[in-house]
Amino acid sequence: MHVESGVDAVPAIRVVDLHKRFGTLDVLRGVSFDVRRGDVVSMIGASGSGKSTLLRCINRLETPSSGEVYIDGEPMGHRGQGDAKARSLAEINMMRRDLGMVFQQFNLWPHMTVLGNVIEAPIRVRGMSRREATALGEECLARVHLEEKSKEYPARLSGGQQQRVAIARALAMRPKAMLFDEPTSSLDPELTDEVLVVMRELAADGTTMIVVTHEMGFAREASDRVLFLHNGLIEEEGPPSQVFGAPKSERCRQFLSKHVQ
């Protein structure tokens, strides 16, 4: 192990030996990896391989059966610094806001305007004034190129626009990292590009991201590292050139031959 200097020695996200079982079903069977600050990690793998569960364990929408997740060196599950006591729900809530989550189904709140969706958490969770939050919200909407839609209700937007609002909503908490769970999978093909463009811009701005995706073009061009998940284990891992160009695992090779044109 070589010594790194400065804050970059601490990864933005560190996942250590994560296990998750639902009843008798072992969905995650010991997953470990680091995401360095500013890195984009794409996660690929067949449906049912545990990708969503992994993301949900990282921000604790699911409680891992064992293993730990560290955000900027802070353990999510227990107090840290030798204190093995489990964190309370309230503490986990506090830490969760450091991770922005973007869902396949957008999950915008239909009774709030676009801006209302974006400024809700800055006001309620960060305690910002409405005016401060509005300025921040408009800035975030500009980043997803939707500033002119701030007064619309979600139902009036296309799927691609809704997903971009969802991204803005996550960005408004100024998270340390963004987690994307198949953000374009429920979009019509002609709407995926506008979302991918935004994600590429975020990546280029140095946003730390984990992206579960079937968009192999994005994984290959926009990510620093690619993980291939199979049956709850990381089966292949490396820079995109290696994973796409010369995968070591036979299963990964098969998966790619089905998904890359």
Partner: protein, 223 residues
């Protein structure tokens, strides 16, 4: 002088007094129904140890005929609980709890219909469970339940015509009193029926207009 003038117009103050009592009872009962229904629903969904009690109360309130409920609250509750102290209060409570049983089930259906992802989106930006409930679950539930809520109000108005059996002096009470004084039921009862119909109609119309407008605005489907 026509019968209409003698029996109805000249008695307008008595009828108005009765109508105001009816409105008052209905509003209070409605408030009890909405708040009580939400509490019963929340206990049923989120307070494990008290769930059987909540289910029992909901079923009991829904199954009891309103006439029995009125008598029971008016004459039995004061003996057991030392409350309510007046027949007016008993009328409000009896009408309110019956509708609370129905609304509890409406609210539960509304809450269960909200996609889990809406709540998870709230948790993922750091909102606490009470914040998620208050800001995300509750408004959507109320919107989706709006037609049923309005409907329950009209049920309360109609049931309220029975509170005279526990001597509350509502519109029906005053109308019946006039009938027994004059022995001329046609005009008085016809006008009374008209007032109830008008009241229910206006409430329904206002409620439906409001609910439709809100749902259109938010692009929500009718429940």
């Amino acid at each position: 002088m026509s019968n209409w003038e003698r029996l109805v117009w000249n008695q307008r103050e008595v009828l108005l007094k009765g109508f105001l009592v009816t409105v008052e009872i209905c509003l209070i009962a409605f408030a009890i129904a909405v708040v009580g229904g939400m509490l019963l629903c929340l206990v049923r969904l989120y307070v494990k140890p008290l769930k059987p009690l909540a289910v029992l109360l909901i079923e009991f309130f829904r199954a009891t005929p309103i006439f029995v409920q009125l008598m029971w609250v008016a004459y039995v509750w004061p003996e057991i609980f030392g409350w309510p102290g007046t027949f007016f209060a008993a009328g409000c409570v009896a009408l309110g709890v019956q509708s609370s049983g129905y609304l509890a089930e409406t609210f539960r259906a509304g809450i269960e219909a909200i996609p889990r992802g809406h709540r998870e989106a709230g948790y993922s930006v750091g909102m606490s469970p009470p914040q998620v409930f208050r800001r995300i679950v509750l408004p959507q539930t109320l919107l989706a339940s709006a037609p049923s809520i309005v409907n329950q109000f009209t049920v309360i108005v109609k049931s309220s015509t029975l509170v005279s059996v526990i001597t509350v002096q509502d519109l029906m009470f005053q109308a019946l009193k006039l009938v027994t004084v004059w022995y001329e039921p046609i005009e008085i009862l016809t006008v009374t029926a008209g007032i109830y119909i008008g009241f229910v109609f206006l409430v329904s119309l206002a409620g439906k207009t409001l609910a439709d407008r809100l749902r259109l605005r938010y692009g929500l489907a009718a429940a």
